[in-house]
Structure formats: C-alpha cells, structure tokens
C-alpha cells in the first residue's frame, strides 16, 4: 500500500512539474493573422463569433467586397501543440479554399442535409449572417 501511495504521489508531482513548465500566462494562444487595420475601398471585414472546439477556440473573419467573399482570415486558432500548428498550416487553408469555391457561385444560401453546428462551419455561417 505504501508503494502505491508513493507511486501515485510521484506521478502527480511529475505531472505538475512538467505541466507548470509549459504553462504560459496568456489565457489564449492567438494565431498569426490580425484583422486588417485598413482595407481597400469597397471591402468590409465581418468577424464571426468565437467557436469553442475541443482543441481550443477558433474565430474566423471574412472580407467581403460587394456580395462576394474575397478573403478569409483565421483570427484565432489553437497553437499549443505541434498538431495545432499543422492544422493551421494545412487544414485551414484547404477549408478556406473550399469556402471560396462554394461562394464563387454567387449563391445566397445553401440547401443541404440538416446540420447541427460544427466549429468552423458555424463560424463562417455566422460571419455570413452577420454581414449586412
């Protein structure tokens, strides 16, 4: 029994030590893109709500010109593990490209199988719905 207590205590102490070393004071690790301070004329930035995913918060901003989305910025994405960085490097650009191709058909809305909300989709939808 004594050995068990020792093992548990040592493990917890080790965990606390490791985790403390990696803890940084900022509450959120923020991604690279800052919302553009000044945009070319005719373009407006619409910022979606922050969506809480299991990996951390995600926030998306779209830049709209007339009725068309011309750019998508990821304002906030998790960056606390290498995995997060990889998603940021590869997955978001792909999602953005697909978004732009969907909307380049100049559609007003999408009919599809009923959705519940996923983090990114919800964010983009709210960005579109918030704009106007």
């Amino acid at each position: 029994m004594r050995r068990a207590i020792l093992a548990v205590t040592a493990t917890v102490a080790g965990l606390v030590a490791l985790l403390s070393f990696k803890t940084h004071s900022s509450e959120r690790t923020v991604a690279a893109a800052q919302p553009a301070a000044s945009l070319p004329p005719g373009e407006r930035a619409i910022t979606g709500n922050v969506a809480d995913t299991a990996y951390g918060p995600v926030q998306v901003q779209v830049v709209v010109k007339a009725t068309k989305i011309v750019k998508v910025n990821i304002l906030e994405q998790p960056t606390s593990t290498q995995n997060d960085l990889q998603i940021g490097q590869f997955a978001f650009p792909r999602l953005i490209a697909e978004t732009l191709s969907a909307q380049s058909a100049r559609i007003d809305t999408v009919s599809g199988a009923t959705y519940t909300s996923g983090g990114y989709v919800k964010s983009l939808q709210s960005a579109l719905d918030n704009g106007a």
Binding site: T11, T29, D52, A54, T79, S80, T81, Q82, N83, L85
Partner: protein
Amino acid sequence: MATAVGPRALLAAIAAGAAAVLALWWHSTLSLSGLGGWLTGAGEILGLLAGYAVVVLVLLMARIRPIERGIGADRLARWHAMGGRYVIGLVSGHALAIVWGYAVTAHASPVSETATLLTNYPDVLMATVAWFLLLGVALVSARAVRRKMSYETWYYLHFYTYLAIALAFSHQFADGAAFTSSLVARFWWSVLYLLVATLVIWYRVWVPARDFARHKLRVAGVRQEGPRTVSIYISGRRLRELAAEPGQFFRWRFLTRDLWWQSHPYSLSAVPSDELMRITVQDVGEHSAALASLRPGTRVIAEGPFGAFIPDRTNRSVLLLAGGVGITPLRAMFAALSGTVTLIYRASTWQDVVFQAELDAIAEARGATVHYVVGSRQDLGGDPLSPTVLRRLAPGLHRMDVYLCGPPGMTGTAVAALTEAGVPRRRIHFESFEF
C-alpha cells in the same frame, strides 16, 4: 558464463526510456494554459507513459535469456505484477483526464464529450474496448479472484492483454498530439513496438521450437524418491549446448494428451550431462501428480534454462540451506561446488527426506558436510534453525555465501536468522518458487 543483464542495468534502461517518452511530449507541446489545457496535457503524458509501460511489461515476461539470467524469474514476475497495477492507473488516468480536459476546453459536459470522442475521433472506440479489457485482466489477476480459478484459466485470460495492446495501438497515432504531426515520433514508436514483438516471438516461440528440434528431449524414466516425490529423467542430445547451470530451472511441457497445453517450472535436481537431465517433483497439484505416470519415450519441450539462482564460485565457503522441496536445486549445486560446502536439509519427517543416499555419497566424495534437521518444532525443542544452531552447524558462517531454497515461510525466518547470525544480506541468495 553467458551474458546477464542485472537489475540495476535493466531499471536504468527502463528509466531512460521513460525520460525519452517525456521528452517526446515536451517537444511536441509548445504551451498550455487553463484547466482544460492542464487536464489535456496530463492526459497526454499519462497516455504516452502508458503506451510505453505496456511494452516494458511485455518485455519483462518475454523470457529474454540474458534478463532472466541476470534478474531471475521470480523477481521479474514481481516487477511485472507491480508494474501492471501502475499501468492500469496510467491508462485509467489518461482516459479520464482526456475526457475531462476536452470537455472543459469545448465547454461541453463530460458525458457529451465522451460521446463525441467515441463517435468522432478515429479508433477511440477500439482504445476504450482495450481499456476495459485491461481492467478485466486486472480484476481476474487480483489475488482474491485469482485464488478461485485454476492457474491455467487465469494464464489464458491474461493473454487478452496482447489483444488490448493491439486494439489501442492505432489510436495513439490517430489521436495522440505527439504523433499526428511527427513522422519521426511515429517511426521510433513503431520500432519500439516491433522490437518487443520480435523479442517475444523469438524467445517464447522460436527458441523453444528450435531447442525441441535440436535436442530431441524424451522422458527416459520415472523414479519414486519418496512417498510423494518422483524424479523424472529426461534424455536428449547435445544438452551441453543448453548451458544449464546447477540451481537453474526449465519450463517443462510434457506432450501427452492431457498435459501438452500446460507448462510448469521445475528445477534440475542434478548436474546435467550431455545426454541426461533430471528433475524432481513433489506431488502438490494435478499436474505434478500426473507426472508420476509419465511413460518413457514421451516427448518433452523444455524452455530454458532460467533462473538467477546460480552459485557464485568465487567464494570457496558456501552454505546450502534447503527446506522441504527446496532440496531440488540445491542437490544439483551440492554436486557441482567445490571448496568448503555445508548442506543443511530441513524436513518435517524422515519420509520427506529425499536423495539421502546421494547426498551422503557426494558429501563423502567431496569432503562436504550434510546436516539433516528433521522433525517438528516440538521434537527439536524450539526453533530448529535459530542463529545459534546455524552457527554451530556451519562454523565460519559469517564468511560464507548462503544459498537458500524452501517454502516461503521457512525462507523468511531463515533470512532473519542468518542475518542475526552475522551473514551480510548481500551474501544471502534465494529464489522464490511462487511466481
């Protein structure tokens, strides 16, 4: 002398591996914050350690010859049991911390997060099944439960751990933050698992099969040594190549219709020749009782030799202390050692004493001494192996290396008595039969 890996060396290697695993987590984590980050981080560390520890546990039981020789089967089994309990804790802690951590980060309830993890994350369902399998194996390995089932049932249930490890493997790469973004990490982790799998197959499957073909072991004959004790003579060829030392044991599998699926450890009770080995077995259970009726010519698979209970021949002054059936390996040592050798043989009745003629003959031929301490405590008036008695039967005891073999109760009191009689702990050697 064949290579042996000592306990300190093995523990150091295990610790180094654990440190490397922690370094892997360190390298793949840039920063974390908040309760969700801490819980998830803890879950990741526990998961990595668990994935490493199961491999270590398998390694301990892989019957790797240098390790068996340097550490001994009984100690390895004890380490495996202790480590097993710790691993259950690691795996359970990992599962709970991950669910909780993800739930906090996603502002969801732990229940809904569990459902999300099970249905949306690849291979998590399999890993959860693996967890429950491990819990089940842990449950049946608990002493209270294990006592109620036959050894063979427990033994085969324990094999489900292999299935659990296989089921849980893929989720490490699919979901583990340290692995998903690092090909190098996945590569070395796979190498680790592959290495241990290879060692297991090599030492537990290939080597026994190879030895079986090479040495062609057969039962040569069975001799009754006492009312409940039989010796089994086993013939073969090129047995010298097995390099069995007196004091060591093999895991024996007798290929009869009823016994082929069981393997039991018995020590050599005589120094082996190139063509003949002998084991001596006391009738204590179904298997040992059946051995008395083995027919000559029965084929035998012998896995081994195992055991760290090998005399160190540098000290020329040796005491062999046998209790009951513990005489078996010591009888082999008695015949092999030179120098000043004293054998104290403790038995409850004269009927339990075996090899008396052999022991006396060896004593006379080699100038060694045998003392038979026979009878109950009442007959002998007190503790028959008290420090005083021991010092009297083995003069110069404090300078001797003592090799001790017997039932656990006797071993415990003997170690205490020897220590009190002045023998340093490091010169008391014993191997437990209970593993």
